[in-house]
Symmetry: D2
Subunit: 353 residues, 4 copies
């Protein structure tokens, strides 16, 4: 209700601030009897983790997950899975100078206004560190819907954009480069650009494409909880996201119906897939694909005007260890949120039979 | 739960098929004591209504709302507001030929697969006729949050795009032309284009921009129910929508942080507003603005290949009275959904004080 | 959220005041493909209807249900089932004298205080007339879980109490007498007592027992949504209910564990059933049974002190056509609410497989 | 959704098994800016804790709460409050003999059947140990609604029943005796009876009465989420509860309307309070009071027939350290659940203004 839970059947509630004792979450509604692959969970956490390459933040966070409940002898029991990720690397002293200031395009100001106070250390609750809990839950959700294949990758960094269809890509390249772009040539270009941006103490935005394959027909609950509407909400709830489009997306708005309609094959599949695997809010069995736009990280290692609590504008030197470009580390987060949505609808759909 | 309700505090559940007895809805959580302006509700319904101009469908639907409960002597009583919109113009006979066929890029096929049967008349539940109920509820929501001003308009039709900021527009022009574009010159160009498309028996997509002004600081419930995430879900739940972006949107992903950050004025407002009035999922008091992409309507007045239940592909002549371009009539729907989201968060926020 | 919906998977939202245009409801989440037995729905409505015998109110209410959506060619389509029950017999003039007064033990006063105004005609939203919508939905829910048998009956009226187990009863007697008590001798005694009470212009309370048989093992969602907790909430939401107990109930609190424990048979059934078919919030396959206490109707055909809006106490003669004892007509309501709970958990349980 | 969360505005999700790593919970929707009284939380935990007197279980559980988030410099921040209670005293070896057996009137059998497997150690999720998390959240809820006074006490143990109104009681006596009965003479009688029962290796049930005072008028959300319906659900969700009645309760069902109606005073209070402070599901400002029936604990220190997984009935000697009577320790749990309900409706009500 108060906004920190997601999903109906397979639901996740998260808690935790960037510099509190621990982050964590509770998964309620995970089916019983699933032999969890803890290594797979670890892999997802590693993909999101800071410090994994030269183009992401060099903060050290162990991000070790401790499962507290809902698992017995390695299997899910159907009861809530509680987990925590201790904050082992809180350097609270680093943040004393932002205590009384509001940084531009951060959530400092609105949290202070909404709640009357805030945990200012490292952004508190508004820090993207919270997404670690989502990755844990998403990694479990993936195991619940193991037949459905979810793959995200970076399709643009700043102006550098991968102008090819996902179908032309070799997904096995994604984890072979620090940018997580499946086109290795473009990946290198993006990587160099991010390094340059980093040198400037600046940041840059980007786009992540996500493809969901092998989806059963029938997932989604119109008229409000359409499959793409929930995917959209899930993506827009990720820090720094500014836009979501699926299938033909914004480009589709420029087209004529005679170009846009996906004609059927006799087996119910379609010759084209501008619909993006979803019709009327319900999966049609074709690949679902969508794009998620991320703004540039607001924290700069430059001098910037900030607002003080007293209403003064002062010029402050940004510091710390932040990501010059958020999209490489956001790839597993996009996949995690997609997995949560798909698991939820998948489990719900089974009630209809 | 099953997807036909929206909102938590101010919630709407809708029901009804295109050619059933009636459409309708129930609003639960409307505050008591609001003297309803029924004329204003009627005006919104007129804006959505078919047949209002030469560029929209010529179907005749009266769309007269009957309120059944929750209102006493003209005022809301705090109890659920039930309403119906009788379907007076059902021409069921028109649809007999689609009974056993699945039209491309319609929801026919997925409804049949998901539910095992479907009301095929006029698209049944998947018809955009359902949005009439949303417009009723949205018109009431607007009265709940009467200080907040919500304005939507058509910003592109096909390739014809209004390449100016909403701030340069004169909103009083919107209702002065059938396209609902505030730039009268562009409006005429769009209108002519739609007429041409119509003549071809084709359809075209478009984009609607929505601006929400005079928003109190603090609306939105992170980390999942961020204000823009709910707005995004609301918009994506509208028929034919393929994309949503707010503030800088997809263009923001191409920018650097040093360009994108909105610097503060000393009163907490910002010099620029690339954030689109929302930081960290919470309104910051600046204008909220977003863009919604609509695909071209799938029904063509042309010959098209359709799939039969038996798995045959047959060529069928489309007929009927459909919109060549959906965006002019979708303007009040976008506003209605925005009003539902804003009313919900507005009422919820009051719990925190 | 605002309290007028019930259930998660199979959910019902109701609307309507006693003397408004119509009552009604929307059922969302009803599985598709159920061939509805409309006659069975009518039968349930007849059981709840006023005027059916000499011991219930003589008001005339047709209580004819009109289904508006969600049903096609007699079958549920999986989309929301909207229905209305027009109020054909509103005699608003009868209620003018209660416009400015608050009757004792009615909801007049609290509605006025909570909402600032109220539809005073016939109790408005607080009237038990609202339960007509529940009976419609319950009748459909029964068809969703047609294997599960739900039987309610009157087990006491005032001090006259049926002191036998439900297992000794012949359920086929229930509908053979106006009290709906399966023991025909006791039924006659109760009937005569109610007639006497009626002559006095007084009212009397009573108890309804409900038995749910042929329940699959495993329904219920601990730790909060235990099966009996939802049944209890469902019953307590019915007008005039003051108490709920299941299995051994309040008497169980007097017992020792060595007396109370239900020993197993080797097939997993139990030799006794003091547990009432539910362990730890989950059905165990044995009969579920519970008792629901109803207070006497507050409307008397006697002189009574009432409070005026101005804060005066005045002595007013009660009038109208009210039930001297609510339990005979509440039997189908108890069954309906039980059916809603069971259908909801039944459909939810199927998600776990 | 899956049953482990409670409340809409002030919501609690709990997790944890009796013998897992830790229990815990997440509170979402706690208003910001509350200076938490941690000592008061500790006091509530002490009241629930095992080993506090000779008549309760002698298990040693530290029940130390660790808050992980949502609190900054001692104040709530409006973000989720995550907390854990480590399980420091798991003696898993004690439970090896119940691994393959189902104890009578325990949840062993239904958990195994529902989920296909179970954490059998100490009852796993079905253990009343879970209520520790509720007491933490309830202690915080009490601080949110500090003007509302919630007092529970033991009103009967087995056949020994306190046959006086709560108004005749001196609540300051409650914590002066291990039974938590405000009548010290009766308390001693109950205490001696429990000791005798304990000597027999048997257990006994009891009743807890709860009184809620200083309640604002207007809390509760008819027609389904009536205040007493939610209180009833809350109580019925507590382990071992078999019944709930408020105000006149089951006795009220025996009365005539002329006896039962609560006549008004001119200030809107009532001369009597058989209604129990709630009319039509909405608080009327009078004291709310209700009774909760607890069955005897199912674990006996006696020989008992149990069912094995293989379908054999074997006679097993019960052992361990269990409560001979659960009601003394359940008093703070009843108060905690009442506090959760009241806080939720209190915060929700503020949305209506």
């Amino acid at each position: 209700m108060a906004g920190n839970s997601f999903g109906k059947i397979f639901s996740l509630m998260t808690f935790g601030e960037s510099h509190g004792e621990a982050l964590g979450g509770v998964i309620d509604g995970c089916p019983a009897g699933i032999q969890l692959d803890f290594e797979a969970i670890k892999v997802e956490m590693q993909r999101r983790k800071p410090g994994q390459s030269a183009i992401v933040t060099q903060r050290k966070e162990e991000d070790e997950v401790q499962f507290l409940s809902g698992i017995f002898e390695g299997k899910t029991t159907g009861t809530p899975i509680g987990f925590i990720i201790p904050n082992t690397n809180q350097k609270s002293q680093d943040y004393s100078d932002i205590k009384d200031t509001f940084r531009p395009s951060h959530a400092d100001y609105v949290y202070e206004k909404k709640y009357g106070l805030r945990d200012y250390r490292g952004g508190g609750r508004s820090s993207a560190r919270e997404t670690a809990s989502r990755v844990v839950a998403g990694a479990i959700a993936k195991q619940v819907i193991s037949n459905i294949k979810i793959t995200a990758f970076v399709s643009s960094v700043g102006e550098i954009s991968l102008n090819k269809s996902y179908e032309e890509m070799d997904f096995s390249n994604i984890e072979k480069n620090p940018v997580r772009c499946p086109d290795l040539e473009m990946a290198l270009e993006m990587e160099n650009y991010i390094k340059e941006i980093k040198k400037q103490g600046d940041t840059v935005g980007g786009v992540i494409t996500c493809v969901i394959q092998n989806v059963p027909i029938g997932l989604g609950e119109p008229v409000f909880d359409k499959l793409h509407a929930e995917l959209g909400k899930a993506m827009l709830s990720i820090n720094a996201v500014k836009g979501f489009e699926f299938g033909s997306g914004f480009d589709g708005s420029k087209m004529k119906g005679s170009q846009h309609n996906d004609l059927f094959n006799s087996d119910g599949t379609t010759k084209t897939n501008l619909s993006g695997g979803i019709q009327g809010g319900i999966s049609n069995g074709m690949d679902i694909y969508f794009r998620v736009a991320f703004k540039p990280v607001a924290t700069l290692i430059q001098k910037q005007d900030v607002l003080t609590k007293e209403g003064d504008i002062i010029n402050l030197q940004g510091k710390g260890r932040h990501d010059p470009c958020v999209v490489p580390r956001a790839v597993p987060i996009v996949e995690a949120m997609a997995a949560l949505v798909m698991a939820d609808f998948y489990l719900l759909q089974n009630t209809k039979e």
